[in-house]
């Protein structure tokens, strides 16, 4: 047993080494958000500005919108920043979230192989473009992961009068992956398939292969992001004050300007979208 002592001491040292340096970041907020915001590089641009001002570190766990909301439902996050208006409304109605505010938006784009077998390049009507893809039975990959992007894609299929579930059953051309945006784009590049992506991830994506942006600008392709605080009445341990500070900053003129400033190759990825009166519902 004597021998076990130094070993235990070593373990203690090791675990101590894992702890964040004491006093360096006394305050932190856990933000459950989406892969699109993280992988587009927005957070890396945005959050240090907030931390520098407030001393509050922001820890981002990037998941699909559905998963992010689930994590928050279990009380494992202090706030969420997501993009699925229907799911967000449900989350608030269930009493898990409070103070939902619009923060920003970008839009979805239809991406596909340069050869464009369904001939959709340049179309303005996204639903009509999906109908052509279906008619041509051209390969289409879907997130299939209950993310905001997945929700938007399903709504678009409905608008086109098509049932993607049936398409998934009947044929090989519609492929639901159950993956994040990046892996889905990787798969589309490898399979020369069409895919619906948020613009931010598409712009930041490196492994495009023959993929090209084919359809954009349809009003139905709008992609709004909201911030929601986890309800401290439900989950008393959440760091509510710091989470509120983050949300307030995101919709403040300063936060909005920082969002507008984030560009890749000169192109803005997100448009600030906060309403002037801070507690209003998103559009």
């Amino acid at each position: 047993m004597r021998r076990a002592l130094p070993r235990r001491a070593a373990l203690g040292l090791c675990l101590a080494g894992l702890a964040p340096p004491a006093g360096a970041q006394p305050r932190s907020v856990l933000l459950a958000s989406t892969t699109s915001t993280e992988q587009s590089g927005l957070f890396r641009h945005l959050l240090p500005l907030f931390t520098r001002q407030t001393g509050i570190a922001v820890r981002v766990v990037a998941l699909g919108t559905g998963q992010a909301l689930d994590v928050a439902r279990r009380g494992d996050a202090d706030a969420v920043l997501v993009h699925d208006p229907e799911a967000e409304a449900r989350f608030v109605a269930e009493g898990h979230g409070i103070g939902r505010r619009a923060v920003m938006r970008n839009d979805f784009v239809l991406v596909g192989p340069a050869a464009d077998p369904a001939r959709i390049a340049g179309m303005r009507d996204a639903a009509a473009a999906l109908r052509r893809i279906a008619a041509a039975r051209a390969p289409f990959v879907s997130r299939g992961d209950r993310s905001g992007t997945h929700g938007a894609e399903l709504a678009l299929w409905r608008a086109a009068g098509l049932d993607p579930a049936a398409a998934a059953r009947d044929g090989r051309w519609y492929r639901a992956l159950g993956q994040g945006m990046g892996p889905t784009l990787n798969a589309a590049a490898a399979q020369e398939a069409y895919v619906l992506s948020d613009r931010g991830t598409w712009l930041a994506f490196r492994n495009r292969g023959t993929l090209r942006l084919l359809v954009e600008g349809d009003p139905r392709l709008r992609n709004p992001y909201s911030v929601i605080l986890v309800n401290p009445a439900r989950h008393p341990h959440v760091r509510h004050a710091d989470a509120r500070a983050l949300a307030d900053w995101l919709v403040s003129p300063e936060g909005q300007r920082a969002i507008a400033d984030y560009r890749i190759g000169g192109e803005p990825l997100f448009l600030p979208d906060a309403l002037p009166e801070a507690d209003g519902q998103p559009p």
Partner: protein
């Protein structure tokens, strides 16, 4: 081939640059996996030694269970620990989810069965040699366990290295329970997964090369220390 060349060049540049973010990730990877190995060793090695030494009813069942646990998919282990550590779970009060401690726990759960099974094999051979002599000294199985662990320490160092390799290569479980939070719970493997997701395949591959280099260096260092110590000891 071009991809590999690019990746290799990036890897060299990354290592050479001493990028503080990368260093942080490397340091966390090493600390998490080392702590996981220590934690798992506290359970796995005595269990392995006991299984090598003792004959008790249910021993075979324990061995079969260990072998099955070796095949436990990391994602399943991660999910189970996630549900345990979640604020809505039984251990939620600890507030460990999405922290390095949760990642240590996940990796330890994954490698403890490996350490137990491998150490059982190593120590069973030694026990065959020692058993009669220790019985003559009046040492029962319980007393034999620490003796075997001590005298088998050089062979067990290799077992621990195997555990370390497996722990540091793991991605599914630490992703779930750590959350891959930049600057806090991002380790080499989750960083690689993230860069892959972003489509930056050369960078992902380069990080993979860095990880390999680290694991290689740790292995070489431990083997050298081990051999030096073994030369001095028995």
């Amino acid at each position: 081939m071009e991809d590999f060349g690019t990746a290799f060049a990036i890897a060299l540049r990354l290592i050479g640059s001493g990028d503080p973010a990368l260093l942080g990730i490397v340091r966390l990877s090493l600390a998490v996996s080392a702590a996981a190995v220590l934690l798992a060793a506290l359970v796995g090695l005595p269990l392995g030694a006991l299984l090598a030494v003792a004959r008790f009813p249910g021993r075979r069942a324990v061995i079969v269970a260990l072998n099955a646990l070796m095949g436990l998919p990391p994602v399943v282990a991660g999910l189970a620990i996630y549900l345990l550590l979640s604020r809505s779970g039984p251990l939620g009060g600890l507030g460990l989810l999405f922290t390095p401690a949760a990642m240590v726990l996940a990796q330890a759960v994954l490698i403890a069965p490996i350490l137990a099974a491998l150490s059982r094999q190593v120590l069973a051979a030694m026990w065959e040699e020692y058993a009669e002599q220790l019985r003559s000294f009046g040492a029962g199985p319980w007393r034999a366990v620490p003796t075997l662990l001590r005298d088998g320490r050089f062979a067990l160092a290799t077992v621990l290295l195997a555990g370390f390799g497996r722990a540091s290569a793991e991605v599914g479980a630490v992703m779930i329970v750590g959350g891959n939070i930049e600057g806090f719970t991002r380790v080499m493997t989750t960083a690689i997964a993230l860069e892959t997701a972003k489509g930056d395949l050369p960078l992902a591959l380069a990080l993979g090369a860095v990880l390999m280099a680290i694991v290689l260096a740790v292995n070489a260092a431990v083997q050298l220390l081990r051999d030096a110590a073994a030369r001095r000891a028995a």
